[in-house]
């Protein structure tokens, strides 16, 4: 059983057990435009909630991707490094960025669910 949470910085995290899979939302890829470069954290790297974890660069801008939770990186999706276009094609599915082993699952409490995130995005525009 998995559950997906969202951040105000437009990341999503799908949590199964104590491992979360992190990516950027469809709204984020739309705002960025064509993604041309992705940099991922190395497996084993410690990340902090809200800290820089990855970089995504589009024709418009380079942006940091923040980790929604603290923990250790246990996987990285090299496919999007080779083919950054995947981030535009399937942002909330195949084009995940990294997997993180959560050190504190209570950090999920402050994140949004899908309905709350959709309302947040609607309120921004």
């Amino acid at each position: 059983m998995s559950k997906t949470y969202f951040t105000s910085e437009h990341e999503w995290i799908k949590v199964e057990g104590d491992v979360g899979t992190v990516g950027i939302t469809d709204h984020a890829q739309g705002a960025l435009g064509d993604v041309v470069f992705v940099e991922l954290p190395a497996v084993g790297k410690k990340v902090a909630k809200g800290g820089d974890a990855a970089v995504v660069e589009s024709v418009k801008a380079a942006s940091d991707v923040y980790s929604p939770v603290s923990g250790e990186v246990v996987g990285a999706n090299d496919a999007i490094v080779d083919q950054p276009a995947l981030v535009n094609e399937s942002p909330e599915d195949g084009a995940w960025f990294f997997k993180v082993k959560l050190s504190n699952t209570s950090e999920l409490d402050g994140l949004m669910d899908r309905a709350a995130y959709d309302a947040f995005v609607a309120g921004q525009s």
Partner: protein
Amino acid sequence: MTTISGNRGPLIEEPLIFEQATPGRCGVDWEKPAAYEDRLGGLRKKGKIGLPDIAEPTVIRHYTRLSQKNVGIDTVFYPLGSCTMKYNPRLNEKTARLPGLSQAHPFQPVSTVQGALELMDQCAHWLKVLTGMPAVAMSPAAGAHGEFCGLMAIRAAIEARGEGDKRLKVLVPESAHGTNPASAAICGFSVESIPANDRGRVDLAALKAKLGPDVAAVMVTNPNTCGLFEDEVLEISKAVHDAGAYFYCDGANYNAIVGRVRIADLGVDAMHINLHKTFSTPHGGGGPGAGPTVLSEALAPFAPVPYVVHDDKGFRLVEHAHESEGKPCGRLKGFHGQFGVMVRALSYMMALGADGLRQCAEDAVLNANYLLAQLKDELTPSFEGPCMHEALFDDRFLKDTGVTTLDFAKALIDEGFHPMTMYFPLVVHGALLMEPTETESKATLDKFVASVKGLARQAKEGNSADAFKAAPIYAPRRRLDETAAARTPVLRWKDQAAE
């Protein structure tokens, strides 16, 4: 409709010079050299050197045509925000070409380059007078290099206080130039961003909340990248100093306040000055920059070598840390910095005088506010009130038109203007940032305003999205595929036939 040649009148469809080569053709008639014995010990190059076989007129036409395709401040209005593409007075160039300056060599004996050293000292003197700061490092070769210089001096000062292992953090506003966090990171600091308030300025409360014994420095651009003066700068510098940190000011927008604001009065500890922006030297492919960095009393001892000193024996360079009275943070560059840029900057300062520099800042701000006032009803300004040297709009005026900021910029190319900066700063959506600079006349600004207003009306009238997407029509190339260029760049010509 296209012509048989693909040309549109004299706008030549120019192939690469390699593609114009004819094997065996040569621009000069060389005598076949007599047999000789080289002294290369068998290391003589045997393969081709790979230059195209081409005659002189073809070479001349090729490079002349390429130069005609160049769009620059000498050909069009160039309101590229944040970049300060002001006109480069020819007097600067004339001065820089004086043989005594252009042919000086850094290895010459110091006694033969007294004038050049005095010129560097003079340039440094005026930067100190204008900013009210006690010291300046002249060697940084660009703005970001100046940031590096300032942060290295800050790190050295913190280490000298014995706090090198405690103060490891640098705070940077979210609207900062990307070089700020990059410079901090390369100096070994971690970076945290400070949010902006709804007035587009640094959120003072958020800054204060982040200040603590772990903070080494706060970097603030003033005026900031939204073209707004940080009006709480005195509270910011006081809070930074109360927390034991140093206050770095990014001087990229110094052109808006030179002669109007004494940087020392703002409590600044270090600020780089982009000579190539504020002091009108060519940049953006037209030449190197220079980023002299002024330093406060607290940081002055840590200024890098070399620097010019003068005594009763004349001018000389202090080249090594052990010759210095301070504790230099190191050396940033071979020799002593971008001398040619210093010549041009000093020439500009001398030509204008203190009153002229002040008027430049005033006119730059006036011109930007003129654009803002003329365009505010047709476009959507991002923040209330007047701006400094650049006017920031976002893309709300394009909502539901199908036209994006990018399309709008491309349409401006057809109007004969270099587009404004787009999608920066990131703190507003679909940013359009216009910096007219002081060198433009009202007549030029009025022509630009007419085009921008006209395009905005076309976009809003509807059914024009396809026309915008087709722009530019009159440029040598239409819409370039920026995505493919970034994803699969071809950076080097290769002989297809040879492969």
